[in-house]
């Protein structure tokens, strides 16, 4: 499976659905993994994920019990793992929205078989991300609602000049829309599951969530409109969320943060990391869940191309940061970019970032490499690492050497920091494994639709040829 299908005509694009299928075979092949009992492999993975989740619970409890002092943060490094992880997870969430909404609007047919998968990842990544803004505060029990503009008897509003307030709106909107979008797309499939399952309980539960979907023409008409509207709503969010997250840094005065290129550079980075994360999970999932006929090499190759493009956008961002630092002549900016980043105590993180985010994606210029499953899987993981390092550079490296050398201080994380990071991976994995178990990983309805469209297209093409 590693090699491209050589029997295929090289001038023709790779197929979006491999093999010949009917609605029934698609239904069967895509719903089996939900309907059959959990396998040994699933339980093993789920066990690992749960233990990591347990670590998260311990780390969160300890943080709440001791305070932020349980983390490695200090003055000047007031933000560290908490914000790094937040930005990283939010970025990962971007692929789902991009695939679901933007590719839908651009009528990119290849999105169909991966959008459900990516949307779920968005949702879970945003859940992981949402833990941190709350946990990283000194008094989360107040932070939980003081950032909301509610009519307080104290007559105090949140401060609307602060990017952190914008964050609350941006991220909560994003989460709500993503959840609705994902759920709406799931409704016809839940109905299909309700029909297919043999267990009474499952039928009841799936039925409940299918919300009385009968597949009538009117249902479909309303559904299509709603889906399109949500896609339209989501599209600006892809740009806005990470733009606003980047404002957390860009509006400050800290060298390394105070940068106008941050909004586009953050969005590109988010898409970059989001696709890398989708690839990291998609490659094993399509193998073990038997989805190779719908998630084909064409899908993987397209995603690699997007990673190449967004990777270069990110690279452009890095170059621009350096150029502007030099061009401005600001000694603090120059110190940050030319001395601290490359030669400071955190230089290895910066250098890892450059390698993973700029050098590694260049492999995808080669068709042979971008269609090689092991290569792209390793590359995707490296890009995930690189993007985490990027956030570390922005957050920690900028803070630990700012203006006055007297206040410079190095940073090192504690076991709680590491546990929280590993723990969120556990949370993500747990949610994802549950998703694979109980919900179709591929939008069955849409694949069926796609099959029909492709069949019509083929038929029309056949007639023209004839």
């Amino acid at each position: 499976m590693a090699a491209p299908n050589l029997s295929h005509d090289p001038l023709e694009p790779l197929p979006l659905i491999e093999g010949t299928h009917t609605d029934q075979t698609i239904n069967d092949s895509l719903l089996t993994h939900v309907l059959r009992g959990a396998g040994k492999g699933w339980w093993m993975l789920f066990g690992c994920a749960l233990s990591m989740l347990g670590l998260l619970v311990i780390a969160i409890s300890w943080t709440l019990y001791k305070g932020i002092g349980a983390w490695g943060n200090n003055i000047p490094v007031g933000w560290a793992f908490g914000i790094i992880n937040f930005v990283w997870w939010i970025g990962i969430g971007h692929a789902g929205t991009l695939i679901s909404a933007i590719l839908l609007l651009f009528q990119q047919k290849w999105r169909t078989s991966i959008n459900r998968f990516a949307e779920a990842m968005t949702l879970f990544a945003v859940i992981c991300a949402l833990l941190f803004p709350l946990l990283h505060t000194g008094r989360p029990w107040f932070a939980a609602y003081w950032l909301m503009p509610y009519p307080s008897v104290q007559r105090i509003w949140p401060q609307f000049k602060s990017p952190l307030t914008w964050d609350v709106f941006a991220v909560s909107t994003y989460f709500t829309i993503s959840l609705l979008f994902w759920f709406l797309g799931l409704v016809p499939d839940l109905a299909a599951l309700r029909e297919t399952t043999k267990s009474k309980t499952k039928r009841f539960i799936y039925g409940l969530f299918a919300m009385g979907w009968r597949g009538s023409g009117r249902h479909w008409a309303e559904y299509k409109w709603a889906y399109l509207l949500l896609a339209g709503l989501s599209t600006p969010l892809v740009l806005s969320v990470h733009t606003i997250v980047s404002f957390d840094f860009a509006t400050s005065v800290i060298p390394g943060w105070h940068t106008t290129i941050f909004p586009p550079y953050f969005v590109a980075g988010a898409v970059f990391s989001g696709f890398a994360m989708v690839m990291t999970w998609m490659i094993p999932a399509r193998h073990f869940l038997g989805l190779k006929h719908v998630v084909t090499m064409k899908h993987l190759e397209n995603m690699n191309k997007i990673m190449l493009v967004t990777g270069m956008m990110v690279g452009y961002g890095y170059v621009m940061e350096h150029f502007i630092a030099w061009y401005s002549g600001n000694p603090y900016e120059m110190g940050q970019f030319f001395l601290t980043r490359w030669h400071g105590p955190m230089r290895w993180i910066f250098r890892t970032m450059v390698f993973c985010n700029i050098v590694v994606p260049q492999m995808f210029w080669s068709k042979r490499l971008r269609t090689s499953i092991p290569v792209m899987w390793v590359a995707a993981i490296l890009i995930n690492i690189g993007m985490w390092c990027e956030r570390f550079n922005i957050v920690v490296t900028s803070l630990h050497r700012d203006f006055l050398p007297s206040s410079w201080k190095d940073y090192s994380p504690t076991w709680v920091d590491l546990s929280l990071f590993i723990g969120t991976i556990g949370l993500f994995s747990t949610l994802f494994l549950l998703f694979l178990k109980f919900v179709p990983a591929v939008a069955v309805t849409e694949v069926k639709e796609l099959r029909h469209e492709l069949a019509e297209h083929d038929a029309v093409a056949g007639e023209t040829h004839a």
């Binding site: 200090n74 000194g138 003081w146 401060q159 000049k161 800290i254 601290t340 050398p405 007297s406």
Partner: protein, 1027 residues
């Protein structure tokens, strides 16, 4: 204050219960008791109330490690986990009832602080304090402006006395062996023992005291010696500087002590003397020195010769690093050179000349020129570590240069014992070894820890049948004695003492002894049958009995007494200078020649007093332990200081643990490379490595006394170092030493320039500073504050700041700032609101040091304010950048965006487990911050509001100088000035308009309200380096 057993019982009872007290409990001088019922806040606490005595203190507050989990802690953690699962559970704070005064003491208005004058003696000499008291609880220490030595300012250790007073680790129980006894029992025992001793004229009776100037203690000594003619008193201080007295014997033929005056001094030569941070004259000398640092032709010039960089060395215009043992040789050469250049007054001393040393002859020539040109306006000042010969030659030089009566005067020693070095203690040790000591009364500071190691005092004391020890803590000496008498803290005691000029101050207690401590006078009085009189009565009897009542206009003792107490000084008690002192040149030259010729070889080992814990007596004071060392910025440890070159030669790095071998004794200590240290020498700071004290100071650092012998108490040659391969982690508050550690080209945060440039209005200096102040092009219109009554601002004169840290502790005391421990500092979480940034420039061997105190600068366009999502930091109408603790959710964004990094965050719960006693010392006008909130300098907003209320009642505005911030008030050199910038005549307005003014990080457009004044160096043109 009566000291009957009934009172004692109540005091002990109160201590056992360790309760937060409500309202005025103890008014100075008045006998009061616990009148309100004990309050309890939880079942756990309540059950402790009824528990057996002592149980409450079994686990003192904070005794557990910060990271450990106790059983209760575990249950709480469990609770948190459960709470996560069940969000929404309603939490309500328990109801607490307070009981107000029923009968209000006359002079107290609840909420209004009172100030009382008292006095404190660190090395026998007193300094005058003014103590703020809230409802009978002393909370803050200021200097007494009327006192000749303190002149309204304080030293670091004086500021920290408050924390020492409320230290829950202080000794609380009078005991005989391991048995708790009462004072009356103790008196009965002393009486019985005294009776036996009188039979032999008291021949087995010895008293080991610290140096003192107290007339009352001297009188008690006289009475004791009357009763026990064979008894002996020995005075010992680990850091005694006997060189001055012994040196004056060499120079003048009789014991005299110098008193220095820097106001007339144009040229000052310090011979290993850290006069601005060490010794009883430090506050006054710092003030006098800095007063002559205004950039003008009349600016003074400071030459410092010392082995390791000190605060005084950091202020030097020219500094020569020299081993302590080479100072004498240099001084001999200096005398010879001056004599050769025509200073005939030196006489025979001028022919002492002792060859060539490692110093640059050009340096000495330039110094000679300066001293010659400034006859009568120069000063040679020798340090406490230097041997008598150096003090003698310094005296001879001062006399020859005509400085006598101008910059230096000599008077007879006013301490009861002229010297308190190792010699007398050695005699005592011999007596003990010979078995001729039956009863030893120890009132001096912890001799077992501090005595020279060769006396083996710990073993010797075990041979004395009766050892009575009077101390603040159950320390190393307490562990050996048969009787232990807990000492009363100075703020709990009556007493008296004299300043260096002889002026007497009466100490008065601010609070009844928290744990029933007794004064030294009471212990001594017990031997003449007056042990139950109480110090107050002893003191009044003594002073009433003085035949001539100095400065008594009306003749009524009570009136005079009241005035003494109120003023903090007894007028007309100054000792005055001795007239007709003359150098015996011939004798001095003869005595000095062999001493100067004595040289050693090998690496020099030098001991030094610590600018934080002094000789170790403040080891249990967390404020001092957590203070950044003025030079190394080290906290919670001492370090073996070594020069860069010597360390490289031995393949050592900072943090390497080395084994020091000296005179067959060894000591392991972590090394630290420090700029400006002399090569081929090490410095070991004293005062650490305490094995028995409270939980704060126990085991902090290494004990340099383990190598300190009676023959070489300060320095000697012949130490050997070997690397052990082990590493040690220091907690340092400032990791970077230069202003541009990675070579970046940013404007220097702390500006300094030579005098010539400062005086030349067209120089680069002024051009550069012009760019670093004044208005900037901004997008938005800055707020106009001119319509406000006040526009608060501050100025910090880098030319005056010595980096002594007094402001840091003053701020910590005023603003209830928490300590975070070594781990906290190591992680970069220290809480002090003001810090002293210390930068070095130039070569590592010959660095120039500059200090920059930095607290919140109250930017008019503050970067911290707009990033806070909940409006927890906002601007006041008068331009204060305010912090609203109860609105803060702790995002720390404000700190991230603060370019000065002056915000401090409560990463952990630093105040939750402080002892009930410590709670009493908190300033009630400042909120105690909880976990998870940000805090920072407020420009002492509580003092502003206090002044506002007072002046509003009087219908006027706050006058300039009427209001001082805590840092400003504590500063010995008046480097910090605070006031309203809307008043063009205010001192701060004038300083803001000074030509040396610049704003830190002006280029960011933050418009800080704190302005800095550049440091001015005054190099000798003959030595001015071509930069």
């Amino acid at each position: 204050m009566s000291c009957d057993d009934n009172h004692e019982a109540r005091a002990n009872d109160r201590a056992r219960r360790s309760l937060p007290m409500v309202g005025a409990e103890n008014v100075a001088g008045a006998e009061t008791g616990l009148t309100s019922r004990p309050l309890w806040r939880s079942i756990e606490e309540r059950s402790l109330l009824g528990a057996v005595p002592g149980a409450a203190n079994e686990f003192p507050g904070g005794a557990s490690e910060m990271d450990g989990v106790s059983r209760r802690g575990f249950m709480q953690l469990l609770g948190v986990s459960t709470a996560i699962a069940t969000v929404g559970a309603a939490c309500r704070k328990p109801n607490e009832k307070i009981i107000p005064f029923v009968r209000r003491p006359e002079e107290i208005t609840p909420g209004n602080a009172l100030h009382f004058a008292t006095a404190y003696a660190l090395e026998g000499y007193t300094s005058g304090l003014l103590v703020e008291s809230h409802e009978g609880r002393p909370t803050k220490i200021e200097g007494n402006p009327a006192h000749p030595e303190t002149i309204g300012a304080t030293t670091v250790t004086e500021q920290a006395l408050i924390l020492g007073l409320y230290d829950d680790d202080r000794a609380k129980q009078l005991r005989r062996g391991g048995d708790a006894i009462g004072w009356q029992t103790f008196l009965a025992d002393v009486k019985a023992r005294g009776g036996k001793l009188t039979e032999k004229g008291g021949s087995g009776l010895r008293f080991l005291t610290g140096p003192t100037t107290s007339p009352l203690l001297a009188d008690l000594r006289r009475r004791i010696l009357e009763r026990f003619p064979q008894a002996k008193f020995v005075s010992y201080a680990a850091v005694a500087g006997d060189g001055a007295v012994e040196g004056s014997k060499m120079a003048f033929g009789r014991p005299l002590v110098p008193r220095h005056h820097l106001a007339p001094a144009a040229v000052i030569l310090s011979l290993d003397s850290d006069f601005m941070a060490d010794g009883p004259e430090q506050t006054r000398l710092s003030r006098e020195f800095s007063a002559r640092r205004e950039p003008s032709r009349d600016m003074n010039r400071l030459y410092v010769i010392e082995p390791a960089l000190t605060i005084t060395g950091g202020m030097a215009d020219h500094r020569l690093r020299l081993r302590g043992s080479d100072v004498g040789a240099l001084l001999g050469s200096l005398c010879a050179m001056l004599s050769g250049r025509g200073l005939s007054a030196l006489g025979p001393v001028g022919s002492l000349g002792h060859g060539q040393g490692s110093w640059d002859p050009k340096w000495l020539v330039a110094l000679c020129g300066d001293l010659e040109r400034n006859r009568g306006r120069s000063l040679v000042i020798a340090g406490r570590r230097q041997p008598p010969v150096v003090h003698a030659l310094a005296a001879a030089l001062n006399v020859a240069l005509g400085n006598l009566g101008s910059t230096v005067e000599y008077g007879v020693p006013i301490t009861t014992d002229a010297t308190s070095g190792a010699a007398a203690l050695g005699a005592l040790a011999e007596d003990i070894a010979a078995g001729s000591v039956d009863t030893l009364v120890v009132t001096g500071e912890n001799p077992v820890y501090a005595a020279p190691v060769d006396y083996k005092l710990a073993q010797l004391l075990k041979r004395v049948p009766n050892v009575i020890y009077h101390g603040l803590y159950e320390d190393e000496t307490a562990a050996i004695c048969n009787y232990f008498v807990p000492a009363a803290h100075v703020l709990e005691s009556w007493g008296d003492g004299r300043a260096t000029d002889g002026i007497v101050s009466i100490s008065q207690p601010l609070i009844a002894p928290l744990w029933g401590g007794r004064t030294e006078a009471e212990v001594l009085a017990a031997f003449v049958g007056d042990g139950d009189l109480g110090t107050h009565e002893l003191l009044r009897r003594y002073w009433r009995g003085m035949a001539k009542l100095p400065g008594n206009p009306v003749g009524s003792f009570d009136n005079v007494w009241e005035r003494w107490l109120a003023d903090g000084i007894v007028p007309d008690t100054g000792a005055g200078a001795e007239a007709g002192v003359a150098i015996n040149g011939q004798a001095l030259a003869q005595a000095a020649a062999p001493l100067l010729a004595r040289t050693g070889s090998g690496m020099e080992i030098a001991f030094a007093t610590d600018p934080k814990v002094f000789d170790g007596r403040f080891a249990n004071n967390a404020w001092l332990q957590e203070l950044a060392h003025p030079i190394t910025k080290l906290t919670w440890d001492n370090a073996l200081l070594i020069s860069d070159a010597t360390a490289k030669g031995l393949d050592l790095e900072t943090g390497d643990i080395v084994e020091v071998t000296y005179r067959d004794r060894t000591l392991e200590a972590p090394a630290m490379i420090v700029p400006g240290h002399v090569d081929d020498a090490i410095t070991l700071p004293l005062g650490y490595g305490r094995t028995a004290t409270g939980h704060v100071g126990r085991g902090v650092g290494f004990n340099a006394n383990a190598l300190r012998t009676s023959e070489a108490p300060w320095f000697d040659r012949g130490a050997a170092l070997s690397k052990t391969g082990k590493r040690f982690k220091f907690a340092i508050t400032q990791d970077h030493w230069t202003m541009s550690p990675d070579g970046r080209d940013s404007p220097p945060p702390a500006v300094s320039a030579p005098l010539a440039e400062v005086l030349n209005p067209g120089s680069m200096f002024h051009e550069e500073l012009e760019e670093r102040r004044g208005p900037q092009a901004v997008i938005h219109q800055p707020v106009d504050y001119s319509g406000q009554a006040y526009k608060w601002g501050m100025s910090v004169d880098l030319n005056k700041c010595t980096g002594c840290n007094a402001c840091v502790v003053a701020c910590q005391s005023e603003n209830n700032i928490a300590s975070v421990g070594k781990d906290g500092v190591g992680r970069g979480r220290e809480m002090q609101w003001i810090r002293i940034d210390r930068y070095f420039s130039g070569p590592v061997d010959e660095p120039e040091m500059i200090n920059q105190p930095l607290g919140c600068v109250h930017c008019e366009t503050a970067p911290c304010e707009y990033v806070c999502p909940v409006n927890a930091t906002v601007h006041s109408d008068e331009g204060l950048n305010e912090m609203i603790y109860n609105r803060c959710i702790g995002t720390r964004y404000c700190s991230n965006n603060c370019p000065y990094k002056v915000r401090r965050f409560n990463f952990l719960d630093y105040t939750g487990d402080i002892s009930a006693a410590r709670e009493l010392g908190m300033n009630p006008e400042v909120t105690v911050r909880s976990r998870g909130v940000m805090e920072k300098c407020t420009y002492c907003v509580q003092r502003i509001e206090r002044a506002r209320i007072a002046t509003r009642i009087e219908g006027r505005t706050i006058a300039d100088g009427e209001l001082q911030t805590a840092c400003q008030q504590g500063c010995p050199t008046q480097a910090i000035v605070f006031g309203s910038l809307n008043d063009p005549n205010s001192k701060v307005s004038q300083l803001h308009a000074d030509t040396r003014r610049y704003d830190l990080l002006h280029e960011l457009g933050t418009r800080p309200r704190t302005a800095y004044l550049a440091r001015v160096r005054n190099p000798n043109p003959e030595l001015a380096k071509v930069d």
